[in-house]
């Protein structure tokens, strides 16, 4: 009666087979750090104060702060708590921001493809042109990392009707565009199944701090509440907790301060033994290795 995507069937979380993460863990915790590059005075990009504000030198500079300062604040914070992280990278960064990747490699963190630049959107592109965009990003990562990326998040998680098919055909094994579940699920594509990993629309500093205009402290409270609830609920079923951060947003010193409190709470939690601190690509690999029928 109403349009359907046909990518997955309904499955209530309470009726699924159970499984665990490695070593019997029940809550997979991972951080997606969005490392982005923008076009000066044009294209698309967030503004720190006004929604819908046109591109100007000020909001460009505010976002560029993320690569120059915010990223390093965030890496130091992750190091403070010895947290692994995934980095969702705009591929154009390889041309001019090599130092970011050096730090990512030193941390042993993984790279997830995140389009070419966040100054554009895939939505509205003809399939031919979207395929080229995906190939541009994929090729840049392959050239610089020595292997193709397996995970994808579109810029602003933007998709067209055939994006999933193109990604599968381009060799991707998992993607983050669909905030549809607290567990990984399979999605149908014309070339076979692809894995959808939980990645947040809400526990996301762009959504919460830019669009909904919450404060750093309110966001820290969200992070803590989400964790507390999930670390208790994961007793019943395996869950994935994912936190999305953007260096140009949460990397502001006053927000780092609030985030530190949240991470301290998480890493000192009494139920810490339930938690698998992991990265996106590792999580996907583990799911692929599970016996068939466990991932819905």
């Amino acid at each position: 009666m109403i349009p359907h995507h046909k990518r997955y069937d309904f499955s209530p979380i309470v009726s699924r087979p159970t499984y665990t993460w490695p070593d019997g863990k029940r809550l997979a915790f991972w951080i997606g750090t969005n490392v982005e590059l923008y076009a000066f005075n044009t294209g698309i990009g967030n503004d720190p104060a006004k929604l819908g504000e046109p591109q100007n030198q000020r909001n460009f500079a505010w976002r560029d702060y993320g690569n120059r300062v915010g990223f390093w604040n965030l890496m130091d914070l992750y190091d403070e708590f010895k947290l692994p992280a995934s980095h969702l990278v705009n591929s154009l960064l390889y041309q001019s921001h090599g130092q970011l990747f050096e730090r990512i490699r030193r941390r042993g963190d993984d790279i997830i493809a995140h389009g070419r630049t966040n100054a554009e959107r895939q939505k509205g592109l003809w399939e031919l042109d979207e395929k080229r965009l995906i190939e541009d990003a994929t090729a840049a990562i392959r050239a610089n990392e020595g292997k193709s990326p397996k995970g994808w998040l579109g810029a602003a998680a933007s998709e067209n009707a055939t994006t999933l098919d193109l990604l599968k055909e381009a060799g991707y094994t998992h993607l983050l565009d669909w905030p549809v579940d607290d567990q990984p699920i399979w999605l149908n594509t014309r070339a076979g199944k692809i894995l959808s990993l939980p990645y947040p629309a809400e526990l996301n500093d762009a959504g919460a701090l830019v669009w909904r205009q919450h404060s750093g402290r309110e966001f820290a409270d969200m992070i803590v509440d989400q964790f507390d609830e999930m670390v208790e609920r994961c007793e019943e079923r395996p869950l994935v907790y994912c936190l999305s951060l953007h260096p140009y947003i949460v990397g502001q010193p006053y927000r780092i301060r609030a985030l530190r409190q949240a991470l301290r709470h998480i890493t000192g939690h009494r139920l810490l033994d339930r938690v698998w601190f992991t990265r996106g690509n590792e999580l996907a690999d583990y799911c692929y290795a599970l016996p068939p029928g466990l991932i819905p």
Binding site: G124, W126, L128, D129, R132, D136
Partner: protein, 298 residues
């Protein structure tokens, strides 16, 4: 003092070297026929009654009429009057409507690059993606025609700051995007010069009939007035009178009779011996063959 394009310098038409078109003619007249394909319920495209209409099945169908019906009516009209035309062809027409290409070839008309589809615009594209769009359109035409097109009009006649340089790099000899003169002029690009051939913003059925909502008779009056005045003025300077038509607009039956009257006036004009009834490719070729310094700019 003000931002400028840096592509051509000022030159008043009254102070330029004189020349004539072939055979001593003074007015080059050509009809540009826009042959276009659109995306169903997606992209951009005009509507016959509402300027700000969203894309829907109805305005898609109205435009598709141009390929199914309108184009044949226009070609028949031209042939009634013995008129050549330049065909500005979206390259996807080769995939969807090969019958139309057959007729263009049978007429001996030139094919001018006109993007891939009029459902998109080059503005807003990164240079790399615009280069690819131009290459897609150029390669399709080259593959089917055996040679690349010499001229280009962007979909919607829009450009980015890089377009002229990209077109020159892709081997284009002339461009129709700049309605700044009644004569061809040279424009600067990073890969040498390219010729801008006059192509109308105003004597154009989509601008007048769709956006400014004039009637077919008013448009026919414009064609007649433009032509009459230019035939008159061409005594002083060689000029180009170009008329732009779209198969899905001018090809509607009720628009054909006023257009027929206007074109009959054009071909029967008392001073028609001053007129070179031609095509854009031929105008460009003739200009390229002229001695240096005659065509302004460069």
């Amino acid at each position: 003092m003000l931002p400028s394009h840096g592509r051509y310098a000022y030159s008043p038409i009254i102070k330029r070297p004189d020349y004539s078109w072939p055979g001593g003619k003074r007015l080059a007249f050509y009809i540009a026929t826009n042959i276009e394909v659109f995306a169903f319920r997606a992209g951009v495209g005009p509507d016959p009654t509402s300027i700000s209409a969203a894309q829907h099945h109805r305005n898609y169908a109205w435009r598709d009429y141009g390929n199914r019906v309108g184009v044949w009516r226009l070609f028949d009209l031209y042939e009634e009057l013995g008129l050549p035309s330049s065909c500005l062809v979206n390259s996807y027409v080769y995939d969807y409507h090969p019958d139309i290409i057959e007729r263009v070839r049978a007429r001996g008309d030139d094919i001018v690059g006109h993007g891939r589809t009029n459902a998109e615009r080059q503005t807003g594209l990164w240079e790399l993606d615009e280069e690819r769009l131009i290459a897609d359109a150029t390669d399709t035409i080259r593959k089917h025609q055996g040679a690349a097109p010499k001229g280009w009009l962007g979909a919607g006649s829009v450009e980015t700051n890089a377009t002229l340089d990209l077109l020159a790099s892709a081997g284009y000899r002339y461009v129709l995007d700049w309605p700044c003169d009644d004569q061809p002029i040279w424009m600067k690009t990073s890969k040498g010069r390219i010729l801008a051939v006059p192509y109308p913003f105003e004597l154009n059925d989509i601008g007048q009939v769709i956006f400014r909502q004039h009637t077919p008779s008013e448009f026919a009056d414009m064609i007649v007035d433009q032509y009459d005045e230019m035939v008159r003025r061409s005594v002083d300077q060689p000029l180009v009178c170009a008329l732009s038509l779209h198969t899905y607009i001018a090809g509607q039956p009720f628009r054909i009779p006023p257009l027929r009257r206007a074109l009959q006036h054009v071909v029967r004009h008392a001073q028609k011996d001053r007129v070179w009834f031609t095509r854009a490719d031929a105008i460009a070729d003739y200009c390229y063959g002229m001695p240096e310094g005659i065509i302004p700019g460069g």
